[in-house]
């Protein structure tokens, strides 16, 4: 029962940052500078979500992450759909491992 209460507490504090800006700012026109900053966030956050994490998906073998990152970047650069980038990177790393990399 105690565990259920902890989970409910976790659920509430996780929901607060998700819901507040979306509802409080609805219909509000922010100053242009802040609008610009908010529009920049998706691309900045992608940079932070990719690096350095992608290099350490196998903490003991940095080359594994580098190989996977290279595969994903090349596929994406060639214009592949996101799903193909994901499946291609998985396939590439599967082969990399089966080859004993």
């Amino acid at each position: 029962m105690n565990m259920v209460l902890i989970i409910i507490g976790m659920a509430i504090v996780t929901y607060i940052p998700r819901v507040l800006p979306l509802t409080v700012l609805e219909g509000k026109e922010l100053p242009p500078f802040f609008q610009g900053v908010l529009k920049n966030i998706p691309y900045a956050v992608l940079g932070a979500l990719i690096f350095p994490g992608i290099l350490f998906i196998q903490p003991d073998d940095i080359w594994f992450g580098i190989a996977g990152a290279a595969a994903a970047f090349i596929l994406a650069f060639l214009g592949a759909d996101v799903m193909i980038v994901v499946l291609g990177a998985i396939a590439f790393l599967s082969v990399y491992m089966l080859m004993g990399g």
Binding site: M3, I6, I7, I8, G9, M10, A11, V13, T14, Y15, I16, P17, R18, P21, L22, T23, L25, E26, G27, F33, G36, V37, L38, N40, I41, P42, Y43, A44, V45, L46, G47, A48, L49, I50, F51, P52, G53, I54, I57, F64, G68, A69, A71, A72, F73, A76, G79, A80, D81, V82, M83, V85, V86, A89, I90, A91, L93, S94, Y96, M97
Partner: protein, 239 residues
């Protein structure tokens, strides 16, 4: 008329489901392992699935398991959950600029589905995004997260070792797949992602900040710095 119907469909619920499939694939190994770890930490199947159902936040859920295993109290676990998810303030505010106008009730509903992954998929689309599209992306991601948590707990194992390892690239590959097309179009995107990547690497590798704070700080600093610099350049061009 027909054109309108087609474009409606492209940006609606079904299109959202389709765009969210890569998240569902990426969540598969992460959720299976979460279910497995939750079981070994002593959580029942009900508690494990309930956590994924109500919290729906990977990093926070993993951290809660290590805190539970270490015997931490409820207040510590809940406080850490809040800290790890503080970055969602930024994403929620940014998403608000992206979404079509909508009632606060519906926005409160889809706000629940905001994760790093659903946010990046929705926010990197061109133009305004519909509520239906956001719901589609979130629903399939959520389904994968909850169902695979249950499966991981029940079968008590994750994928075969090599597949589990290969699939650990999935979410990162998705982020790359979302970033690169914009990168090719606009130099500004390269500055934004590059600066945030360097800052986040500095913050985490030096141990200066924990992951949650590091992502929030590097994102905000990069987004503001690039905005100031592009503003200055425009100002200079006007003179």
């Amino acid at each position: 008329m027909q054109m309108a119907a087609v474009s409606e469909q492209k940006s609606g619920f079904k299109a959202g489901i389709k765009a969210g499939i890569s998240i569902a694939v990426g969540y598969l190994p992460v959720a299976l392992t979460f279910g497995l770890l939750a079981k070994t930490t002593g959580l029942t199947l009900f508690e494990s699935v309930l956590m994924s159902l109500l919290v729906f936040a990977g990093a926070a859920q993993y951290i809660s398991l290590s805190l539970i295993a270490a015997g931490a109290g409820a207040a510590v676990i809940i406080f850490n959950t809040f800290i790890v998810n503080i970055r969602h303030f930024l994403m929620s505010a940014s998403l608000n600029e992206k979404m079509e106008p909508e009632t606060r009730a519906k926005k409160s509903l889809y706000a629940f589905g905001l994760t790093d992954e659903t946010f990046t998929v929705i926010a990197t689309r061109e133009g305004k995004t519909t509520t239906g599209f956001a719901l589609g992306v979130m629903l399939i991601a959520y389904g994968s997260w909850v169902v695979n948590t249950g499966i991981g707990h029940v079968i008590g194992a994750s994928l075969p070792e090599f597949l589990q390892q290969a699939m650990s690239i999935a979410l990162y590959a998705m982020f790359v797949g979302l970033l690169v097309p914009s990168l090719k179009k606009e130099m500004k995107v390269a500055y934004l992602a590059g600066l945030a990547a360097v800052l986040n690497s500095m913050f985490t590798l030096t141990g200066l900040l924990d992951t949650g704070w590091a992502i929030a700080a590097s994102t905000l600093i990069s987004a503001m710095a690039v905005e100031v610099l592009t503003g200055l350049r425009k100002g200079a061009a006007l003179k």
